[in-house]
């Protein structure tokens, strides 16, 4: 087990390295000039060039790359070209909101989607199944920002149950956090629920056709025990997998929800940085999100063995 985890962790190194090279090249090939945004509209070309020189943007690409890799190796994420503050600090500030919203989304999604999928599979081809599947297809069909607007309109503007926007850390009181986090989480969860419910249903359908389900029924076990004790655990691996890979979707969704709900998270930070070509920030952010994705999927892989004793490492 330990050896397996170690191997998996080691295997992420080439992946992250490829991500790093890829991101670096992509960014440097992209037109755009951080010096221009730094200096503002009225700056003259000569002024821009002096700033570029100072920021090291006139160095050859390879030099820039190795400078960056060298910094990374020392654990230094660099300094934002625009705000001149340390990227690590910015990331630290911005990570909290995103992680908290993402966690809440996952909790909500799993709590709703798994039972939905289980029931849909159990009542395969009935109206319950139809309802669940319709919802999950619908969840895929509406752009995230529209869902966000609709939720704001209903719950924040019409009903006035929760604030329109903003973010408060749980340390400032759970109520304050919850009331602001619930709409963005629901917005994000829609697509996630759709994904998980669909996968749960498919996986459960498969498992429900297995012999041991028949065995359990032959023992006279109650239906809910059959579903949740016998079937769900066997269906868990693909569900976990989709929760892991769906995490990428979540990150994409975060970018939009953070805009709509004005949450100071890493999604917005990254988009802003891309639009401003703040290279150190973009590089760090994409490495970070890629790292989170890889880590989550590593966790998922390792957790398989919790659900399926046949999987041993």
């Amino acid at each position: 087990m330990f050896v397996y985890i170690l191997k998996r962790v080691l295997a992420t190194i080439p992946v992250m390295l490829i991500v790093a090279i890829f991101v670096f090249l992509l960014l440097r090939l992209t037109p755009g000039d951080p010096a221009a945004i730094l200096a503002g509209d009225a700056a003259t070309p000569a002024q821009l060039d002096r700033i570029r020189e100072r920021l090291g943007l006139n160095d050859p690409l390879l030099t820039q790359f190795f400078t960056w890799m060298g910094q990374l190796a020392r654990g230094d994420l660099g300094v934002s070209l625009l705000s001149n503050t340390s990227v690590a600090g910015m990331v630290a500030d911005r990570l909290g909101p995103t992680i908290n919203i993402a966690l809440m989304t996952i909790v909500i999604s799993v709590a709703l989607a798994v039972p939905m999928g289980v029931i849909a599979a159990w009542r395969h081809r009935t109206w319950v199944d139809f309802l669940v599947m319709s919802f999950s297809v619908l969840g895929f069909s509406v752009p995230v920002f529209v869902i966000g607007y609709i939720l704001i309109q209903i719950f924040a503007i019409e009903l006035r149950w929760v604030p329109v926007q903003g973010y408060k850390d749980p340390s400032e009181g759970f109520g304050a956090f919850f009331s602001r986090a619930i709409l963005p989480s629901l917005t994000l969860a829609t697509i996630y629920i759709a994904l998980i419910a669909r996968m749960t249903r498919a996986s459960m359908l498969e498992v429900l056709g297995e012999d041991y389900i028949r065995t359990a029924r032959a023992k006279g076990v109650r239906e809910n025990v059959v579903l949740f004790r016998h079937a769900l655990r066997n269906a868990a691996v693909p569900i976990l997998t989709i929760i892991g890979t769906g995490f990428a979707l979540l990150i994409s969704g975060v970018v939009v929800t953070e805009s709509v709900f004005n949450i100071p998270g890493i999604g917005r930070l990254t988009v802003d940085a891309i639009l401003a070509r703040d290279y150190p920030v973009i590089q760090a952010m994409i490495l970070l999100t890629a790292g989170i994705y890889v880590f989550v999927n590593l966790l998922v892989d390792v957790s398989y063995s919790l659900f399926d004793p046949r999987i041993r490492y």
Partner: protein, 561 residues
């Protein structure tokens, strides 16, 4: 051969099925799956249900359990009476109450029938938790007790093992413990031993008999193995196409079958008496295997230790027109040897000479021209033909690879169809439009199309019904006659081996433990392992096709039972 002969007419009736009709849900006009089944089982009786695949044996048992697949099959008439309780009209919760208490079931595949993610002890315990109010410690004690009764070793450890950590036989014991823990009146066993090798099968059959003795349970035993039937049945019902065509006490059925169908079924069962050996051939051996070793795994950096030595120092040779059988229990390395010879896997060591060429070390490319000398027929007729290809295309693939023109290949394919006794127009059809036996014929035709010198048949008939199996074996015999091809025939069924092989090679754990002419190995085995195998073959003393006991029953001495 001793048959059971107890009279059950006075025993209380446990299960009574009358005019049972089961059909496809929502399609009352389609041909019914079960059409007017009548069945009686009395306390203590073992009632065997036999018949070809698809005749409705499993459906009958599922109907009795109230477990017909929802949305697919439904009871459309008749009644099922379990000790006065009408099952066809029971509510789901009433049915749940009945199951495990009054009626229990064991399924064929012990691996898939147990939940892979729950500890086996808990799976047994669950029956008690569902149906009784025992305290946890009492329930656990009872469970362990039951596990002792089914002769599981080291019950404390096995209690907390997962199914994949147990052997097939142990898993099936768990199933039996689970089925019998509440002492039901009726035990339904649907092919409980088909997936096990003969020695384990024998133990399980004994166990069921013992439990039946102890608890007085009635048993409905479903099987297609006539040997098993001869061994355990009190009464036999023969099913064909959803009907019961004949019912009789065991001795009567085997000695004096009334129905033509029953006769056909019995005639098809091969004998354990070896076929008469064929005359020696002077020609050079087609294939020679020397010191073949095969170890799986070991490729990775971390896992040098978990190499599986699946074949060790295997030596044999086969002259043209002769058949060598490889027998042995599951996992003994039979397929490994076959796949090495075919070079589907690369042997770790040893020499394989086919038609004069040493092929064990040839590269893919070097091997290509020699491929046509070797062909193989696989066990699973459903997966050995590309489902997307027409039969014609499958048959032409090989010859075209070796330079035959399309038209020529097509003409040959048509001839081959005739050879394997299939209509010519079948060429345009797809595999799913054929039965298993027909597909196996196509697979054989495909192999024969290459005019190979060696034909490897890896369990080529194991998936087939006895009657179909007999036809395919005949076909192989014909082909060998006609083309003089050497054959490597792999099977775990000694009867089949006896019928078709000139020589037999017995494998155990990768080693060859005995090798000799079929007559000698099967009648006077020298190795204990071979003896055990033969002894474990059920109904080995009965000559089914002639409705009488065998003259020269293979009676190895010194065998353990």
């Amino acid at each position: 051969m001793e048959f059971k002969s107890k009279d059950f007419s006075n025993a209380p009736r446990v299960l009574k099925i009358r005019k049972l009709k089961v059909g496809l849900t929502g399609r009352p006009n389609a041909a019914p799956v079960l059409d007017g089944i009548d069945l009686d089982i009395r306390a203590g009786e073992t009632h065997c249900l036999v018949g070809e695949s698809g005749s409705g044996k499993s459906v009958t048992s599922l109907a009795a359990m109230g477990l017909l697949p929802k949305g697919a099959l439904e009871v459309q008439g008749g009644l099922i009476d379990l000790e006065g309780f009408e099952i066809t009209s029971a509510s789901p919760s009433q049915m749940r109450e009945l199951r495990a208490r009054r009626i229990a079931m064991i399924f064929q595949e012990p691996m898939t029938a147990l939940n892979p993610v729950i500890r086996v002890g808990e799976q047994i315990l669950e029956v008690l938790n569902t149906h009784s109010d025992l305290s946890p410690s009492e329930a656990k004690k009872l469970t362990l007790d039951m596990m002792e009764q089914v002769h599981l070793p080291d019950v404390e450890r096995i209690y907390s093992a997962f199914p994949h950590q147990l052997s097939g036989g142990q898993r099936q014991r768990i199933m039996i413990a689970m089925a019998l823990i509440l002492d039901p009146d009726l035990l339904i066993a649907d092919e409980p031993t088909t997936a096990l090798d003969v020695t384990t099968q024998l133990q399980i059959l004994k166990l069921i008999a013992e439990m039946q003795e102890r608890h007085g349970t009635a048993v409905l035993f479903i099987t297609h193995d006539m040997g098993v039937v001869a061994e355990i049945a009190d009464t036999v019902s023969v099913m064909q196409k959803g009907r019961i065509v004949e019912r009789a006490p065991i001795r009567e059925l085997l000695t004096d079958p009334k129905e033509a169908y029953t006769r056909k079924l019995l005639t098809a069962v091969p004998n354990l008496a070896p076929r008469p050996a064929r005359g020696d051939v002077a020609e050079k051996d087609v294939v020679t295997v020397q010191g073949l070793d095969m170890a799986y795994g070991g490729g990775g950096f971390f896992r040098k230790s978990d190499r599986v030595k699946a074949a060790r120092d295997v030596n044999f040779s086969i002259p043209p027109g002769r058949t060598l059988g490889i027998v042995g229990e599951s996992g003994s390395g039979k397929s490994t040897v076959a796949r090495c010879i075919m070079r589907l896997i690369d042997p770790t060591a040893g020499k394989i000479t086919v038609a004069g060429t040493e092929i064990a070390r040839l590269s893919r490319r070097q091997l290509q021209p020699h491929r046509k000398h070797l062909q193989i027929v696989f066990q699973d007729p459903y997966r050995s033909l590309n489902p997307r290809w027409t039969v014609a295309r499958s048959l032409c693939e090989g010859p075209i690879n070796f330079g035959t023109s399309r038209d020529e290949a097509m003409t040959k394919a048509a001839e081959l169809m005739e050879l394997v006794d299939l209509p010519r127009d079948a060429l345009d059809r797809y595999p799913h439009q054929f039965s298993g036996g027909q597909r196996q014929r196509i697979a054989i035709a495909r192999a024969v199309a290459m005019k190979p010198d060696l034909l490897v048949a890896d369990e080529a008939v194991s998936a087939l019904d006895v009657s179909v199996q007999a036809q395919v074996l005949d076909l192989l015999d014909d082909i060998q006659e006609k083309f003089g091809v050497a054959m490597l025939f792999i099977t775990h069924d000694l009867r089949v081996a006896a019928q078709i092989c000139d020589d037999v090679l017995v494998m155990q754990k990768g080693f060859v433990v005995e090798h000799g002419p079929a007559g000698q190995v099967l009648s006077t085995p020298r190795h204990d392992y071979t003896r055990n195998l033969i002894n474990a073959a059920p109904g080995r003393n009965w000559d089914f096709s002639n409705y009488r006991a065998l003259d020269h029953a293979p009676a190895p001495k010194g065998a353990i039972a």
